[in-house]
Symmetry: C2
Subunit: 432 residues, 2 copies
């Protein structure tokens, strides 16, 4: 018999209970023994959750779970930072295995969590922390174990993908799309962690730490959100150049250094990632042996996240039943291994640029002169809606250039008197 | 120390050796102990394979591997039927774990292989048998373990997908595209197993047996290949209706019965599967909790298949090192569980139809009359290139109808004197 203690009885937790109740016979067949929810802890144990649980299962006292010697697996689903961290660390120290969906805590405490887990011979599983129900962490950690990972491109955040989809397909403004996402339950009232790219950064940190066998700290990842994205750039990018805008988390190995960055990215139509819409997520992973692969599914939602939590429970429970849990760590990494991160200045991409200029002869010559001087070469260029207003947008796509040169050129261009607003820059990914 | 014996030293096997040699330190870290190739058996041990192996590793005598008590894992990569089957069964009986890519043997002997494996407490892993390097079997078996699988749509065969891509994107005829596939190494000299759909059927049998927890015999799967596909239907389907043609393996649960079928299928543009081109494969899986998911990657090729073989080896070797291999079977299924298969006559889809008729008034009325009588209702209809030739094609898309009614109507229509060639039928999938 494997006993489970659930901490937090919110949406995902209630979904987890639903699956465990409805599919118990199939799940026990997979585990090879009985699986039982022994306790559920939450501050609020009276509000209905859409699933019936016997009243004696519920408690408001966390210690009833942490100190119960019969409980083998603790499922932490309270979210947030401080308390959840205490619970995870305390569970590990008490020799209990942990399932969590808490990407923030994992990304920020990777080293201490897995060092402590190894020391205490417990397993920490966290499939639901990245990509909702998509079993991408298992794929990366085990299915692609034979590979040296060469790149990861991920649409990792359902909120921003929903907003960008509405802006692309329904020509909504950022504000309108955000408001709709909030109305539909795809964005929180304070959406800053999502639209600022922080959530994507934490998930990329987890993917990277698995892929490269050492902790990729969130602070080492360049991060830019979608707050500054305007409808016109989505429109120009698509109509003039055939690009679709997505917020991507990107890792690439170039010359043994790792590029690691989160930013809005133009991708050419026809690439699989351009069809990943609304709350869906997808992770495009290239390995040296397997080549290109992709994993797609819902990145948010009660039941998809619960699907990942329960698959972790099944996996772990099987180890517990076999008395093998903790013999080999789930995540293999080397504390001493140094990840050499390529500085953002050296990263090379193509760029989409939009300049807001006065409508006067010689402006384009000035801009392209400064770009050329900084080794940025123009691939194509449009001057839009000439002479309608006093200010005209010039949009262009460059060949590959380093970020350092590009920024230097933009700073210089933005100082020109003919430039009427801060120039816009969106990076382009075309290689994979 | 975990010892491996490789049987068969062809392309995938050489790729497996390459990965094991090049990435050995990372692999051993994941396994938690030393991993060694102890013997490689092939009839031909002189032809170079593009990888250097010590000569004492090579043998032509299979028993040097099967009877070596130090060898824990046997990797069967000789392909074909009779000998490979003997090797797999003999290895299992001798208590050795098996890694194989042999979809034909697995699909045809599922029951006896896994019954015997359970009895002998050994594990049989076979990730490379479906979807090349895509870790889809692990995803289905473990990552989605919490789910009741509702449907599977798979592009499972690289050869036919390459041919259909060439027919779609370069307007080639079936014969031209097949010849090109053969030239490029994507089709064998005798391509009948691929283009006839047999390979897809075997892979669907494996996916189904995992998904539904009981053996889905290949003979229970309806199977139609792409041999009869003409360029004009690909063109009409795309230009008139926005459909792309793919050979799909399909499973769907409808009213507790399973539909299971392999046939060329029109999918609407904008669906992810329509962007899966050339030798790539993708498997679109819907679960009751997780919703829609997709797994994408190369379905063929030395290194992608070797990637899957090595991930199986790593996984198994870890169990061997832990002395836990075989405690719990990898595949959980119930011999006594009966799969209720929906007869093809009761399956409902939309249909694309092409009739070759004489150009005479009243023909369309006759055809639609017969369709209507058989409860097939027309969604849209085009009469192409009227009056250029004496024979004119009428193409149409129907609403959903049962296959039984559709076939009955077609038989009746094909008996009309105004019909000049056997009418063409291609099924359409639009729901997922």
């Amino acid at each position: 018999m494997v006993n489970i203690g659930l901490i937090g009885f919110g949406t995902v937790s209630a979904g987890t209970v639903k699956i465990l109740y409805n599919n118990i016979s199939r799940i026990e067949e997979k585990v090879g023994t009985k699986v039982k929810i022994k306790k559920i802890c939450d501050q609020d144990i009276t509000t209905p959750r859409g699933v019936r649980v016997p009243h004696e299962l519920l408690t408001t006292d966390i210690n009833e779970i942490l100190n119960d010697p019969d409980i083998d697996i603790i499922v932490e689903l309270i979210g947030g930072d401080a308390t959840a961290k205490k619970i995870i660390f305390s569970a590990i120290k008490k020799g209990k295995h942990v399932v969590t969906a808490n990407k923030a805590i994992l990304a920020k405490n990777w080293d201490s969590i897995f060092t402590m887990a190894r020391k205490n011979k417990v397993l920490v599983y966290f499939e639901a922390s990245v990509g909702g129900g998509i079993p991408v962490l298992q794929a990366l950690n085990e299915g692609l174990a034979a590979n040296r990972i060469e790149s990861i491109l991920g649409i990792l955040n359902g909120t921003t993908n929903y907003i960008l989809t509405k802006m692309t397909k329904e020509s909504k403004s950022f504000k309108e799309a955000l408001r709709e996402a909030q109305r539909e339950g795809f964005a929180e009232r304070d959406p800053s962690l999502d639209i600022g790219g922080i959530d994507t950064k934490q998930k990329l940190s987890i993917l990277s730490s698995i892929a490269f066998g050492s902790w990729m700290k969130p602070d080492d990842i360049y991060c830019e959100g979608i707050n500054h994205i305007e409808q016109q750039d989505i429109k120009y990018g698509r109509e003039e150049f055939g690009y679709i805008l997505k917020l991507l988390g990107i890792n690439k190995i170039t010359k043994d250094k790792i590029e690691t960055r989160v930013h809005p990215t133009f991708i050419p139509e026809g690439h699989l990632l351009t069809l990943v819409d609304n709350e869906f997520n997808a992770i495009y992973i290239t390995g040296d042996a397997v080549g290109e692969t992709m994993y797609y599914g819902k990145g948010a939602g009660q039941m998809s996240a619960a699907s990942a939590v329960v698959s972790d429970i099944i996996y772990l429970a099987r180890h517990v039943a076999n008395k093998t849990a903790g013999n080999v760590p789930y995540v293999h990494y080397d504390r001493k291994k140094i990840l050499y991160i390529n500085s953002m200045d050296n990263v090379q991409t193509k760029y989409y640029l939009r300049f807001t200029t006065v409508d006067r002869p010689g402006v384009l010559a000035k801009i392209s002169g400064i770009l050329g001087k900084n080794k940025v070469s123009i691939a194509s260029c449009y001057q839009k809606e000439r002479a309608v207003a006093k200010e005209v947008p010039i949009i262009m796509v460059t060949h590959k250039a380093t970020e350092g040169n590009m920024r230097k050129a933009l700073r210089e261009i933005d100082r020109l008197p003919v430039i009427k607003a801060k120039s816009k820059l969106i990076r382009i990914e075309e290689d994979s």
